[in-house]
Amino acid sequence: MIQMRNVSFCYEEGKENGVHNISLDIPKGQCILLTGESGCGKTTLTRLINGLVPHFYSGTLTGEVFIAGQELEKWSLDELSTKVGSVFQNPRSQFFNLDTTGEIAFGCENLGWSRKKIHERIQKTIENLKIDHLMNKDIFSLSGGEKQMVAIASGYAMNPDIFVLDEPSANLDTLATQHLKQLLSCLKAEGKTIIIAEHRLYYLREIADSVLYMKNGYIVEQWTDKEFSHLPEEERLKRGLRSYDLKMLSVDHKTQRPAVDDSFSVENLSVCYKGRDPVLKGITCQASTGEIIAVIGHNGRGKSTFARCLCGLVRESAGSILYQGKRMSYKTRSGKIYLVMQDSNYQLFSDSVEGELALSTKDENVHRKHLTDWLLKKLSLEELKERHPMTLSGGQKQRLAIAAGIVQDADVMILDEPTSGLDFENMQRVKEIMKMIKQEGKRAFIITHDYEFLLATCDRVLEIDNGKIKKNYPVNEQNLSQLQRFFLQTTEMV
């Protein structure tokens, strides 16, 4: 289906890394998993298949690429779109229409198909992918997972033989990732060829036929699904790859759990949006000094409202939040309880890394200067001091946003999906930062769907369901089975 012979590509502007010397042969019906650290060339390789390279992103291409028997340069993008369906990482920016049905019809309309044919294709798409509940909806009302389903459906409607997905699970929770897995096996059963670039690997177990490991633009290693599952852990870690089998993971024994105190507590917190059912119904919990708490739960059950209320973005309708015995009002909370957003792009306002940290603090004394320097060093941002925040990589931006919170002297940090879209190395970095937050005597709530990360960093788990705390237990060996039930059973359930 796809052949590449000694393909190299480098981008014109030289902003991004290209790929070098790629040769591969992907037969029809295969599922190929591309992995490797950020910037290793996975995305470029997917673009070579869907034609965005060289038709959309220009640069120099050498070697030969054949897609469905024809040379890539001879395909025009619109003809290729009937052969290759694409799904991108960010569900926010891949929809042209604002309603789901229109979006699924969109590609067919562009190709000038008759209304009858479009209708048939839409029917078939809904039937085969079982997405009738998503039709005729406003795109903005969908969750990230639902958006990715619509994205796949809109590619599917054009009936391509090949699907190319670039980090499709980056913004998805456990359950949505599961649905994605189902959908992919459904595509595979139909004999579609699938190419996926990913950091999160576990959900592709038994779907992927082979795994390609890329580094600096080269394909360095190649395994079959079986070989890859049997790859020893040290080997996997050496290459900076995430876990392929979550069942193998266990609790890290070495970390010391912090002593229990009640320096920060939430009492009977409720939130109610106007004219709707309450979203949070009486949440009570404590966070000790140096404690890292994982907040888990399925989407739309109150996790993010809890976070938004804690950091003063939503006003509580009842209950209170106490820090060292004193009540923190809605107004005083913002800034003292700091939120690291999932997309740290929003949180950076200044024109240099240093300026970003200076923005967080008014008084300029030696202590602050000291803290800033120390932080920059600790978060390996020191050499980037002068750089504009927007020129940093995703992981660097996130670290800068965390640093800003520390300089701002926030006592409680809330992190919203800190590991989404991060490669292994950056995940390790976030782990280090969490350790630092611990040592600084702060506390953190981490909203996460990342089982691997949770086991490695968190001390306690709060499970929120239907606006209440369903479970609250420390992360230890006795509770491992509970965690597995939450994260892994959903895996098997479907």
């Binding site: 869907n50 034609g51 965005l52 038709h55 959309f56 992103y57 993008l77 619109d78 290729l80 779109s81 009937t82 290759v84 369906g85 694409s86 926010r92 920016s93 891949q94 929809f95 042209f96 229409n97 604002l98 309603d99 049905t101 229109g102 019809a105 969109f106 067919c108 309309e109 562009n110 190709l111 000038g112 008759s114 209304r115 479009i118 209708h119 839409i122 029917q123 009738d132 039709m135 005729n136 903005f140 054009m158 950091c311 003063g312 973005l313 913002s334 800034g335 700091y338 939120l339 957003m341 792009n345 929003y346 949180q347 950076l348 306002f349 923005l359 967080s360 927007m390 800003a404 701002q408």
Partner: protein, 247 residues
Amino acid sequence: MEIIENSSFKTDLQPYRSLDPRTKLLILVLINIIIFFHTGFYTETACVILICAVMLYHKRYLSCVKIITLYAALWSLIMVSIRFQNIMVAMLSIIFILVRKIFPVMIFGTLLISSTRVGEMISALQQIRIPKNIIIPLTVTIRFFPTIREEFSCILDAMKIRKIRVSFKNIVFHPLLLMEHILVPMMLRLSSVAEELSAAVATRGIDSSKPRTSYYQLEFGTADVVFILLFFTLMLLTLKGGVEVLL
């Protein structure tokens, strides 16, 4: 049989009442003409009332009430402010008058965007033979409004967390800094959304040279004729000097 029943689904769109996009576009043009030949209180009010009628037709009852209240408030503010002989107040009243002028266009524009699907808009524009290289940028612009709103609220949240306050004090004393803090992240975000979006659209055959078809069928009904006639009459009246002439 039952299984088939269940797995079949409505591909007919949910019945919702809306004017034809072409009608809405035409009315928007007419409103612009009416406002451009600025006449007086009665003509403008008549125009706003007609717009409210369109809104009621679209079942936007709540926004209709909001608009009437806002419009009344604007007029009262103007009435009050022009009685003062203070420069600051005079400047304020100029702002109010400007807002009042663009008010009808703004509310109708909002209605147009919020009640028209992108696909419908494209096929409407195609039917009135607008060239494709105008349609695509135009629809992208329309598609961007909700995105801007979403991004904006995210940025406001982020500012609050970073203790950058959008307070009256900051608006008065540090307007430029505040603007920078809102606009810079906004522009950067939007430009990356724009790039990702155009890449996504390119893989969906937007460049196709074949004539585009449309899944949505447009129907030009009685309501369309009625509203066009109403606005057209008002425009003719405006050209003759406004509703005031009749009084």
